[in-house]
Symmetry: C2
Subunit: 270 residues, 2 copies
């Protein structure tokens, strides 16, 4: 099944546009889990199992594993998602960007080693740096467009007739879409620009970080980012879900926050 | 010792501005080494030992290790460079770019896990994404500016009064330099733009890929990129050195190419 098809099936069957980001800070894990790779693995798997029927996608952030040499935990986690929750879209958040053979190896890392359905990438180096990702059959390439952070305007809003983020969106729509299954990252913190990107890219999937802990307004985001049929978004929440409780009830608490977030998205979309 | 100090000592003591990039394609290793992680490690260590007195820096490309789950080989390789060739500047080519806590973890990956002196990063997300790298004492942050690939003009030459790569260079000089030890990646394939970047950034170190296999002209590069005292550049060659021979003499052949490249740089700089 293609990335686009899998995503549409996930939206339909879960009736959810929520994605949970797995950014497991070792210093914030519940104390009873202990420390080290085993604690990290238990935490992530329990969170995934608790929220699986409330979300369309799971998005592990690779830095949280690679910084501490825990790639094996990430491999096992991805395997768990694929085996136990095959309906979920697995997005590797890696924001890779390099050229030629190196880009091809990053595509292999995401799609073969971790078996992700899609990976986030950086457009700064241009189309040839994205090509190995876009050309991988059945896989999704989600390109940074307008990010949610405070410093994102420094270069992304440069103007050359149009802004840089708008040019990235237009290039995605006019060029990258012919090459593969492309999506864009557009932060929840800039709903006006989210609406502008949506108007450029048709029904292209948008990965939207920045609700929850980063303060993006769910109602404004849904109104700005949805497609006419009320889908098109993968709305990510990480910290608000992961750290809903630091006690033995962490998974149950994470599930409650996921349900509330999913319902807030559905209410804004009705 | 700071990154800048270590680099200046390396330029002085080796009298070389050559850097060898370790991009070890498993399918191109000499047959007698066999296959797998052990062959990869032997190949990289033999190349490093063969060229160590001819270069100022060694630059492993992380994707060649992470794509095949060989992070342990990269750890051992970095440890070998630090222990046996402590004069060499160790640059991790990772082109990372993310925000907040995630950026801090990528800095930890490069500087703590792999013990690199410097790491390459992507500016698309803005200053706050670079801050955890820049703020790490004694370490270097080498930001993509004008890359060597064919598609690099697609966004990097956008014009808003100035071009995007020029704005990145100016921001590096005016802002990032106050925050830490910054350098820039400027490809050898655009010598006119290299000269323009040099005129903006004073004596800031420039990492210059694209000579050798990518076809950049050493003489034009040296004339465009050097500082008044005839240093300021880390000129990278990867494939031309690594694959100089696929026989038992691969390390010796790599050394010969490194000597020739070093001499060509020195001749152009005289």
């Amino acid at each position: 099944m293609s990335f686009y098809d899998k995503l549409h099936v996930a939206w339909d069957t879960t009736e959810s546009m929520l994605c949970v980001g797995l950014d497991p800070d070792p210093s914030r894990l519940p104390a009873h889990l202990g420390i080290g790779a085993e604690a990290l693995q238990r935490f992530c798997i329990d969170i995934v199992d608790a929220v699986a029927d409330q979300v369309c996608a799971i998005k592990p952030q690779i830095a949280y594993f690679s910084a501490i040499g825990a790639e094996r935990v990430l491999e096992d986690l991805c395997e768990h998602v694929r085996a136990r929750h095959p309906h979920l879209v697995l997005i590797l958040d890696a924001k890779r960007g390099d050229i030629g053979d190196t880009a091809a190896l990053y595509a292999r890392e995401a799609f073969v080693r971790y078996g992700a359905d899609a990976v986030t990438v950086n457009p700064y180096l241009g189309t040839d740096s994205l090509e190995p990702f876009l050309r991988t059959p059945g896989k999704g390439t989600i390109v940074l467009c307008r990010t949610s952070n405070a410093g994102s305007g420094e270069f992304q809003t440069m103007q050359d007739g149009e802004t840089l983020y708008r040019r990235v969106a237009r290039t995605a729509h006019e060029k990258w879409r012919q090459m593969g299954e492309v999506g864009l990252v557009v932060g929840a913190t800039y709903p006006t620009e989210l609406a502008e990107v949506r108007s450029i890219v048709g029904d292209m999937p948008l990965l939207i970080p920045g609700v929850g802990a980063q303060g993006g307004d769910v109602e404004a985001v849904v109104r700005a980012g949805r497609t006419p049929n009320g889908t098109g978004m993968i709305i990510n929440s990480s910290r608000a879900v992961l750290y809903a409780s630091d006690g033995r009830d962490f998974a149950e608490a994470a599930r409650s926050v996921a349900i509330a977030s999913r319902n807030a998205i559905a209410a804004a979309n009705s």
